[in-house]
Amino acid sequence: MKVNPVSEHFVSDKPFDPNSIEQIDPEQERLYLASQWRLMWWVFKRHRLALFCGVLILLMYLSILIAEYLAPYALKTRHTDYIYSPPQPVHLFHEGEFIGPFVYGWGYELDMDKLLRNYSEQRDRVYPLSFFCHGDPYEFWGIRQADLHLVCAPEGGVLFMLGTDRLGRDMLSRIIYGARISLTIGLLGIIVSFLLGITLGGFAGYYGGWVDSTVQRITEVIRSFPELPLWMALSAILPVTWSPLWVFFGITLILALLDWTGLARAVRSKLLALREEDYCMAAELMGARPTRIIGRHLLPGILSHLIASATLSIPAMILGETALSFLGLGLRPPITSWGVLLNEAQNINVVAIYPWLMLPVIPVIVVILAFNFFGDGLRDAADPYKH
């Protein structure tokens, strides 16, 4: 019998399984079952620079917990014999011989013509650095007395790796202590502005109508203001009699009061779209209160975006504090922040003669760059379903 060539085609012997198309391999299953946060983490992890910056930021925030331990000297220790000392080099080799990190003796001669102290190394004296050593006493977390330092001045010598200021205080220690204020002000400020932005933006987006237009107008007015002059005006209000701690909170609040508008706009525009969703209607029909619908059903969906944009506005706050303190309108000594430190570098003499007083600007730049890259990475990862 002749076989029809057209019908002669391959037929598999295997039993037919109609569900085979539905089955997925373990790799896909992992992807489908992952939570939103896990997906975000996978995307974020691929962004090497952002990951690195995130770790850096984390380390910096951890360092403020143990600032006393990391700093070679206590905050208020003064070395009246070493005023305006330039950064002191740390060496590894002495006359070709390796002895680990050490400093030479440190002395100065007065230049009576220019009225300057010329510091120089005294090569005959070698002071190896000691680590995990006992130095200036401090009160750790306000609970117990301690005097352990990561590195301290060698016996009989001094250690000013970043120089000293006009009162003979070690710059490195002051920068490490300054991180406390400068970093927390950004974090506290963003928390306040985050709450304000979510609440106001949430109500505006959910209710619409006159609530929406009121909030819209307020944000418009605030955004049309040049920030710095308004900050200056507001910080001029803070009474001079306030204690430094209250001034700190006052400044934080001022920075936050002008910052929430961006977040509020983002929340509002997202909620305007989300509230039309069926699950929102369902919640409404079941009698959920507006606050519950916003907080429980709507906000979690956009939280990742909000966190990303909040991260991106922390740098502005840190710079704001620095600028205000630099102008003398923000924090004042005895509070030590990077802005307060830079306030002493206000003078052209400093650039010419004591340039190391400008060193606090380096941590400022590093933190701001790190927050920007970290925030960029977060923003890209915030929408994991996009890819």
Partner: protein, 332 residues
């Protein structure tokens, strides 16, 4: 078009009223007033003050009126050009403000131009060479500008300009022109001094602008019409300039609105460091000595400048981009 502009102008009015009210509240908030601190200062110097004279001054400036009455006097005064009286200078506010505000406007305009000039080629390069070393390097440079505090950059440039070029760049003109009338020489002197503040203020805005131009251009470059053009053999540069660049140009105009507040902020702080005769230093002094009408008017002018700037950019955008006019109202 006329409808659009009219609508925008009408919307400005309530905004300005609210702004003026906020400003007045802020300048009123510190306890005491200028006369009180003035009296305290005189007494600390051992001079006696005649209480009657103070009371007369107080009623002359309306300082003992209730809050709302003071606000109404101030705000209605502004409508016919009377901005109040500066205690510190003993002059009407308009005379103190005049030139300084003008110079602030000049600096702001130059800074915007500078930002465009820098951001434009860099953004173009970054978008066309995405993920290349050049892209990364230039982006990093932009971010460095963003992260460096303005005031410190100003200080360092002040020093280096002095050391390397031997010019003194503090101030905005050579000393001999300070009180002179405007002339060609004075203008040249201003231009010579202008570049430092412009660069310093511009650096912070440039990074953001580069990023946005890059993102905008990348969006456009991936559209089918670009592929079509390339397939038909249009040279790459011509193809870039002809359409994608034009489309992303719109946002340069739109961006003025969001740039202006930050530029004016930057101008203030840089002005303090470089002792420019703009609004910065005098505003700080006025705030500290509670010279309330002077401080209030400055804040008001700066806000007005921003609001007008945003308006101009919106109108320019509506003229340039027909899509906006068709939508009638811009949503942002």
């Amino acid at each position: 078009m006329a409808y659009y502009i009219g609508r925008r102008l009408l919307l400005m009015i309530p905004t300005l009223i609210v702004i003026s009210f906020i400003i007045f509240v802020i300048i009123q908030l510190p306890p005491g007033d200028y006369l009180e601190s003035y009296v305290a200062e005189l007494e600390s110097q051992g001079e006696s003050v005649d209480p009657g004279q103070i009371a007369a001054l107080r009623s002359q400036y309306g300082l003992d009126e209730p809050f709302l009455v003071q606000y109404l006097t101030w705000s209605t005064g502004m409508l016919h050009g009377d901005f109040g009286y500066s205690f510190e200078y003993g002059l009407p506010v308009t005379e103190v403000v005049g030139d300084r505000l003008f110079l602030t406007v000049i600096i702001s305009l130059c800074t915007i131009l500078f930002t465009w000039l820098i951001a434009f080629p860099i953004g173009m390069y970054s978008a066309t060479h995405q993920y290349s070393w050049g892209d990364y390097g230039l982006t990093l440079l932009g971010f460095l500008g963003l992260a460096t505090p303005n005031f410190l950059l100003a200080l360092v440039m002040l020093y280096f300009a002095n050391v390397t070029f031997g010019i003194s760049i503090g101030g905005l003109m050579d000393p001999q022109y300070l009180d002179a009338d405007w002339s060609w020489d004075k203008l040249m002197s201003v231009l010579q001094h202008l570049w430092i503040p412009v660069i310093v203020i511009g650096t912070s805005g440039t990074a953001a602008m580069i990023r946005r131009l890059r993102a905008n251009l990348l969006d456009e470059l991936h559209k089918p019409y670009v592929v079509t053009g390339r397939a038909k053999g249009v040279p790459p540069f011509r193809l870039l300039v002809k359409y994608p660049l034009r489309v992303s140009l719109n946002f340069f105009i739109a961006d003025i609105g969001s740039m202006l507040p930050s530029i004016i902020s930057g101008a203030e702080i840089v002005a303090v460091v470089l002792s420019l005769p703009t609004t910065g230093p005098i505003l700080i002094a006025a705030l500290q000595s509670q010279d309330m009408y002077l401080a209030g008017s400055f804040l008001m002018f700066l806000a007005l400048l921003t609001v007008i700037g945003v308006l101009v950019s919106d109108i320019a955008l509506a003229l340039l981009d027909p899509r906006i006019r068709l939508e009638g109202v811009r949503t942002s």
